[in-house]
Amino acid sequence: MTLTAPTATAAPAAPPVDERLTPAGPIVKLLRRPEIGALVAALAIFAFFSLTTEVFLSPAGVSTWLYSASLFGIMAVAVAMLMIGGEFDLSAGAMTGTTGLIVGVMTTQWGLNVWIAMLIALAVALTVGASNAIIVMKTGLPSFIVTLATFFILQGVNLAVTKLITGSVVIQGMGTVPMFDQVKVFFGSSFTLFGMSLKIAVIWWILAIIVATWVLIRTRAGNWIFAVGGQLQSSRQVGIPVMKVKIGLFMTTAGAGWLVGMLMLFDVSTVQATTGIGQEFIYIICAVVGGCLLTGGYGSAIGAALGALIYGMTLQGIVFAQWDNNWLKAFLGGMLLLAVLVNLYVRKRAGVRS
């Protein structure tokens, strides 16, 4: 892959060595990438569960935690871009529910064509994303608060409208909608690789990582995302279209919410009014564990993906290890703390400021 760090593509012509600089080999340069800490933490957790449980490395086991990680991962990658751009989106989780519910209601209740319903859901998601961005930029309010309000509103609307239209809080009968199977090929199917039956969500996840990394490291838009997140005022002064960048980022996150909403809907062929609520923090956790700064301007898509991998492995690994489920949250908290500490330690050793 050519999508490595910008530091790794340094000028091949040997530059004159500077006596003020302790020489840094390619390994040290690699160690300075934001995602290195997450990589070490991920390897540690992988090793841990591989050794302590039998199932973790079995084909069925791998496919479970990869699927779990992929759903968090797609969102985490989008949320990481947004965080690099200096914003939060707490409505991202509820958005996966909203889009699923829109498609569910429109197809099962009103008999709309699935593809059209999906387009409508996408349009709604993008509109909400753009309006988040516009409110944030026009008012100067922190996105944390604006999207928290959006989150509440979506949560209420999801529940009330679903109940109003279907009389229940669950969409049933998706499986019998015409063309359901056609869509399922793209969003809900499985394929076999090395004897493992993998969900198609994993492909979408890998695609998201590649595109996001490419955009962040190798395009103008990526440069601008880092800039608006690092110093909004300066970005404005050098003429970066700050508004457009932020709108793009919020729309990307909302779009990712739609994608995950579809992946979940066409996997289990049902969606509930509560879908996605409480997930928004998991995405942020994944991004931070993956090396993104909460304050913006620093991070990577690969890191966020690794954060999601850590989360997915831990979540399913705890099941494989058959630990008492009452302790689940405590284990997760401990793992989170451990992961960020490992991350910090590795990065400090590599000479990266945190």
Binding site: A60, L159, Q172, D267, A273, V319
Partner: protein
């Protein structure tokens, strides 16, 4: 131990039993800390301990996550699987996968209608809707007509089903949303509701903690409404005894956890298939002034 004691004692008994041993996985749609499902869990674990089976318990209210948990359980190749199906569509493929893998499946609590269709051997317990209908009937008999149903977790499928069941027999029921994480404020909200509409003459709560709060709210707001609740605790039985609460619906969750483990163990060790394709009802029982004292004893132990 005599009550749900977690992993250590389970493994202890496992090693001390001479009979064939095995693993049974329970995957429900519960959220952590939910009172009802906690008792189901206790029942299943106790059965495991009694029978020398290794019982694992997991739960998640989101169908995608519940399916993932079932998949993870299938990956560990258990000797039996127990699933609650609040959202049958959502877990269908996972359950069918288990059946295809030759794992005997028993469904519990919700999903009676789909149980056989998906290939489960039997169903234990009955749906929340039926329990709700029962509660509605009893309230109507006691003379309540304008009832509020207090939902302590917004959008929770089981809770919505209970209220829908009550509405089915009572005509209409107004749902009131409160947060179980803040019982003091839930009490406030119930008071507010009683104040704002004096014609309310019945309150149905779905959690023992909320029931205690509702009893206090009722007293503060004048105390004319009839109270009923799902699930019991020592506090609830005390309130039933002194007449503050009319009755508690007891779906006997303990047996919803205990029985399927027994059935699957019998099948594993003796080839028995209990139920013969018919469901096994676990309730609902009603705790009233008459039998509150007996139930209180068990409620303290967390098995009712």
């Amino acid at each position: 131990g005599c009550s749900g004691t977690g992993q250590e004692s389970t493994t202890d008994t496992t090693t001390s039993t001479d009979a064939a041993t095995g693993t049974i996985a329970v995957v429900t749609h519960s959220t952590p800390g939910d009172n009802f499902w906690d008792v189901v869990k206790s029942g299943a674990e106790q059965a495991g301990a009694d029978l020398g089976m290794n019982v694992t318990y997991q739960g998640d209210g989101d169908p995608v996550k519940q399916s993932q948990l079932i998949d993870a359980a299938i990956a560990t190749d258990p000797d039996g699987l127990i699933v609650s199906m609040a959202n049958p569509d959502g877990v269908r493929s996972a359950v069918e996968k288990a059946v295809a893998a030759g794992i005997p499946v028993i469904t519990i609590n919700a999903g009676l209608d789909q149980s056989a269709e998906f290939g489960a051997e039997t169903h234990v317990g009955q749906s929340e809707f039926i329990a709700g209908q029962g509660a509605g009937e009893q309230l109507a008999d006691a003379g309540a007509s304008n009832v509020i149903c207090v939902i302590h977790e917004a959008g929770n499928v089981s809770l919505e089903e209970r209220c829908a069941g009550a509405a089915d027999t009572l005509g209409t029921v107004t749902n009131l949303q409160v947060d179980v994480a803040n019982i003091a404020d839930a009490k406030n909200t119930i008071s507010s509701m009683l104040l704002s509409d004096p014609s309310i003459d019945g309150v149905l709560t779905l959690n023992p903690g909320i029931a205690v709060a509702a009893a206090q709210a009722n007293t503060e707001a004048g105390g004319t409404a009839l109270l009923a609740t799902f699930d019991v605790s020592a506090d609830v039985t005390a309130l039933i005894e002194d007449g503050s609460i009319l009755f508690a619906v007891d779906q006997q969750p303990y047996s919803q956890g205990y029985l399927p483990v027994v059935f699957l163990t019998l099948q594993l060790r003796n080839g028995d298939v209990v139920g013969g394709g018919q469901p096994v009802y676990s309730g609902p029982g009603f705790v009233t002034k008459d039998n509150a004292a007996q139930v209180a004893e068990f409620a303290v132990k967390g098995t009712r």
